[in-house]
Symmetry: C3
Subunit: 356 residues, 3 copies
C-alpha cells in the first residue's frame, strides 16, 4: 500500500518522510529490520525486547543464524547483498524501519543507500562526510580533536605512516611505511588509499549513543579490535616478525573499560563531534556512533576515524556494558538503545526526527 509513494521517497526530502510518517502512524505496528550481518543479532534482540516485530534481511547462506538465535519474526532472504532492494516492497508492507550498520554500508553503493525507500534510522546525509576522508578530517578538526596528520602524497611521508584503503571491509590490506620508498615498495597497484600518520598508543574504540529524543549523549562502552595478523605477530620471536607483512583484518573484539578519570574527556570529544555535525550536516549525527581512537602515553586521544552508526565492537556488550547498564538500570545493548529511541520517537510523534 505504500508502493504508490515510491517516487516521493526517492526524492528523499523531508516532505516525503513526513508523508511516510503519517501513513505509518495510521498503521500503529512497526517492525525493525536490518541486514543479517555485523550487529544484527543485538539490533533484532534489542528491538524485540522493546516490543517491536523484527525482520532480518539475509543472504540465503546466513539466514540460519537468525533462525537459530530466534531473533527475527520474519526472515527475508535475498540472493546477494547487492540485491537488498528486492526486499524493499516487503519491508514497506511490514511497516519496517531499517537500522543500518557498517556491513549494510559496505555492501551497498551510496546511490543505492540513498535510494532506499524504507524508513531509514539515522541521518543518511552523514554518509558523504564519513566516506570522504578529507571531509571526515574537516569534521574532526572543526570539533577540535587530535587527528593524525593526513598526507596528500607519498613524497610527503616524513615519519611512520599507515596506509589505508577506502571502504569498511575490515582493515584488509593496510600497511605501514616510513618513507616514500617503503610506500612504493608496498603499495603495488592499489588505488584509493589514504596515508595517515601512525600514532603510537593503544587502540580504544569508544561507542556512543546520541539521543535526539532525550537530547543526551550516552557512553555505550569501549572495546579494542582483535585483528589478524597484527595481534598475532607479537607471539612470534622478534627475528621472525620482520619477515611478516602486517595486516589489520578484523576478526573480533575484546571488551575494555577505561580509567574513570578519562570519562570526562571521552564525553567531551563525543559532544564536540555531535555539535559540529549539526553545523555541517543538519540535523547532524545521531543514534549510535563510534570514535576510533588511539590513546598515547600522555593520555591524549587521537581520533583516526569515525563510524556514524553502530559498530561491531558493541557486540561484546550484547547484554550491555557496565556504563550503559549503569545509566539505564538494566541490561542495555546498543541494539536495544536504538529500539528505545525509535519507540520513544513513535510515542512522542517525533519519528521523523530519527529518520533521515
Amino acid at each position: 500500500m505504500l508502493n504508490g509513494d515510491n517516487d516521493k521517497f526517492l526524492l528523499g526530502g523531508w516532505e516525503s518522510i513526513s508523508e511516510r510518517r503519517r501513513l505509518m502512524v495510521a498503521d500503529k505496528d512497526y517492525a525493525i529490520a536490518t541486514l543479517g550481518s555485523h550487529s544484527a543479532l543485538q539490533i533484532l534482540k534489542g528491538a524485540r525486547d522493546e516490543g517491536f516485530k523484527t525482520i532480518a534481511v539475509s543472504v540465503r547462506d546466513h539466514s540460519f543464524i537468525y533462525r537459530h538465535f530466534n531473533v527475527a519474526d520474519k526472515i527475508i532472504e535475498i540472493p546477494s547483498y547487492n540485491e537488498f532492494l528486492k526486499a524493499e516492497d516487503e519491508l514497506l508492507k511490514e511497516n519496517a524501519i531499517l537500522v543500518p550498520h557498517a556491513s549494510l554500508v559496505a555492501y551497498m553503493d551510496a546511490d543505492i543507500i540513498n535510494g532506499i525507500r524504507v524508513p531509514y534510522y539515522g541521518n543518511r546525509k552523514i554518509l558523504s562526510w564519513e566516506s570522504d576522508r578529507n571531509k571526515q578530517r574537516e569534521w574532526l578538526e572543526r570539533a577540535g580533536l587530535n587527528v593524525p596528520r593526513l598526507y596528500e602524497s607519498p613524497e610527503e611521508i616524513d615519519r611512520l605512516c599507515i596506509v589505508k584503503f577506502q571502504g569498511a571491509k575490515g582493515g584488509q590490506g593496510y600497511f605501514l611505511a616510513r618513507d616514500e620508498d617503503e610506500f612504493i615498495r608496498k603499495i603495488g597497484s592499489a588505488k584509493d588509499f589514504v596515508i595517515q600518520e601512525y600514532i603510537v598508543g593503544v587502540p580504544v574504540y569508544v561507542h556512543y549513543f546520541y539521543s535526539v529524543i532525550r537530547d543526551e549523549l550516552e557512553l555505550m562502552g569501549f572495546d579494542r579490535r582483535y585483528e589478524s595478523n597484527v595481534d598475532a605477530i607479537s607471539r612470534l620471536p622478534a627475528d621472525l616478525q620482520s619477515d611478516l607483512k602486517i595486516t589489520y583484518t578484523i576478526v573480533g573484539n575484546i571488551p575494555l573499560v577505561l580509567r574513570e578519570s578519562l570519562l570526562p574527556k571521552v564525553f567531551d570529544i563525543g559532544h564536540r563531534v555531535v555539535e559540529v555535525s549539526k553545523e555541517i550536516c543538519s540535523p547532524g549525527l545521531f543514534g549510535p556512533f563510534c570514535l576510533e581512537t588511539v590513546v598515547t602515553s600522555e593520555l591524549r586521544f587521537y581520533v583516526f576515524e569515525i563510524s556514524a552508526r553502530i559498530v561491531a565492537g558493541t557486540n561484546v556488550f550484547m547484554e550491555g556494558s557496565p556504563y550503559a547498564n549503569l545509566k539505564h538500570g538494566k541490561s542495555m545493548s546498543t541494539g536495544r538503545r536504538i529500539a528505545i529511541e525509535i519507540k520513544e520517537a513513535i510515542q512522542q510523534d517525533r519519528l521523523r526526527e530519527v529518520l533521515g
Copy 2:
C-alpha cells in the same frame, strides 16, 4: 546398592549402560559430579541451577575452593588425582553422573578413564581419536577443515613450525623452529612430540555444544588463551625478546566476540566435525567441545586442535556468553547447558544417549 553391578560397568558396553540406566531411573535422584579443578565451579553451579545434587571430588588442598564458593552439596576428598577411583563407590551410591573435563583427562590414564564405572557424560571412545594426533588430523581432514601441516620428522621442516607435546598440561614446553637445526637445538631429550606448521593468525577458541537430545549444534562462545610467557614478550623491547625462550603455559583466558559475518563459517566447521565423528566413532562427539583455531588475515580458520569436552576458556562465560544467553534467553554457561542436557535426557528416558 549399585556396587553389585561393578563388573558389568567394567565391560563398558551398551548392555551394562542400559542396565545401569534402569537402575537409576528407579532411583529418580541424580547427582552431578566432577573433579574439583578446571571448570568444576561452573559445572557444579550449572547443575545446581538445574536442580541436581552436586558433588565435587577434590584433592584435599583444593577442596576449600568448592566449599568457599558453595557449589557442592558434597565434597569427596581424595589424596591425589591418581586415586580418583577411591571416590567411585560413593559416587555410585549417590547416583552420580560424572562430567569430565580436561584436567580429569590429563590427570588420569586412559585405562583408568575407560574403567570408570560411574556413569560418564560424553562419549569416552572419542578419547582415542582426540589423544592421537594422527587420528585427530584424519578426523579434521575428513571434515574438510583447514589444518596445519603435520611433519613426520624434523628433517621435513620447511617453514616455521611449532613443536608440541602430548597431553593437556597447558602448553608447557612448546617451542618454535624454522628448520631441522633449530629443532635439534631446542628439542633436548624430549620425546612424544608433534611438529606442526605454524599458522600466522590470531588464536580463537570456539566453544560449541552439540545437543544429542535436541539434535542441535549451539555456539557457547569464544575466548583466547592468556599464555605465559608468549603473551608477555611483546611487552619487552624487540632486542630483549630475542634472548627469550617462548613458552605457552596457559594462565587464563580472555573473552572475545567474533565478527557476526563469521558465525556461519563457525557453525559450518562445528557441524562438519560432529558429522564426521558419527562415522568414525559412533555415536560420535556430543556435549561441549572446542575447536582451537587460528584465524588468518584472509579470515580462514585453521583448526589446530579439538577438545572433545568442556574447555577452561568457557570459564570466562560462567554467566553465559552473549551467544549462549541469546539462544537460551537466560544466563547459560556451558556447565549449565550440560545439566540441561542431562535433565532432558532423564525426563525423556534417553539418559543412555548422553552417556558413553
Copy 3:
C-alpha cells in the same frame, strides 16, 4: 554537630573513633562518600544498591559524570583535588563514611589523608607500609611470597630491571634497563625511583576482599591492565619497536579469568598477605585490596606490588566477576561488597572495626 570533635579525630586514636561511632549510631542514617574518580561509579552504585545515601566529592569539571550516571544523591564540588578538606564539614554533617581509592591516595598528601576527620573506611595506617617500597617488600617477604629482587643502587643491576617511580599516577615514566649504563642513559634527572628485577611473565591483577565482619577472604576477580604504549608496540614491526621508549601509562583494563587450578594458590597468597598485615600494622589490611602479580611459565606468582584498597581494574566487573557473583549469588561489584561490609558492621554495631 560533629565539628566540636575535630581535635579528637585528628588524634586518630581508637577513643576518638569510638566516640564518633557513638555519635553516628545515634544518627542512624549513614551516607557513603567517595572522590569522583577512579572507581567512584561502582562504589556509589554499590552503596545505593545496599540502601545508603551516596555522595560524590568531585572537581567541577568531572561532576557531570556522576550526575549523568545518577549514582550520587549529592555531589559536593571542590575546586581541585588538593582541596578535598573543603568538603569535610558537609560530609560530617551528612554522616558520611569515606571510601578511599587510589586516586584519593594519589592526589592527597599522606598528612592530609591522616588528618581526614570523616570516618574513613579501611586501615589508614597501612598506607605507610604500602607507600614505602622497602616496607612493602618486607611485608610481602614475611608473607613468604615470591617478590622481584629490589636493587639498592644502579651499579648492582645484573639482569633486566624495571625502574619505577613513587606514587600511583598510572605507571608513567617507568623504563627498562639491563645494566648501569642503560639506567644512567634513561634516568635523566628523575629521583625517587626503585629498581626492580623484571620478571618475564603475564601480568595478572588479583582483586581480593577481606571481610573483617565475616572473617573471610574473597576473590573479587582478575584483570590485566591496558597500558600505553607497552600494549601497542607489539603492533609495530620489530625493527620499528626498537626506536621507541616503552611507557606504562594505564589507559584501561581487560577482564581475565584464571585457570581454576590456580585458585588455591591465589587464595593462599591473599591469606598470607592479610595474616602478616595483622602483625605489622594491627588490625591489619581489610576490605578490598589487590596483588599485582606476574605469572611465569612455571606458573609461579611474583607479587610486585600491593594496593591496599580498591583498584581500578575492578571496574571491568562493575556488575560482578564470575567469582564474586558465584560467591554471593547475585551481581557483586567490589563497590557493592564494600557497602555490604559497612552495612553489616553498622547492623552488628561493629562499625569501628571497619574504620581506621
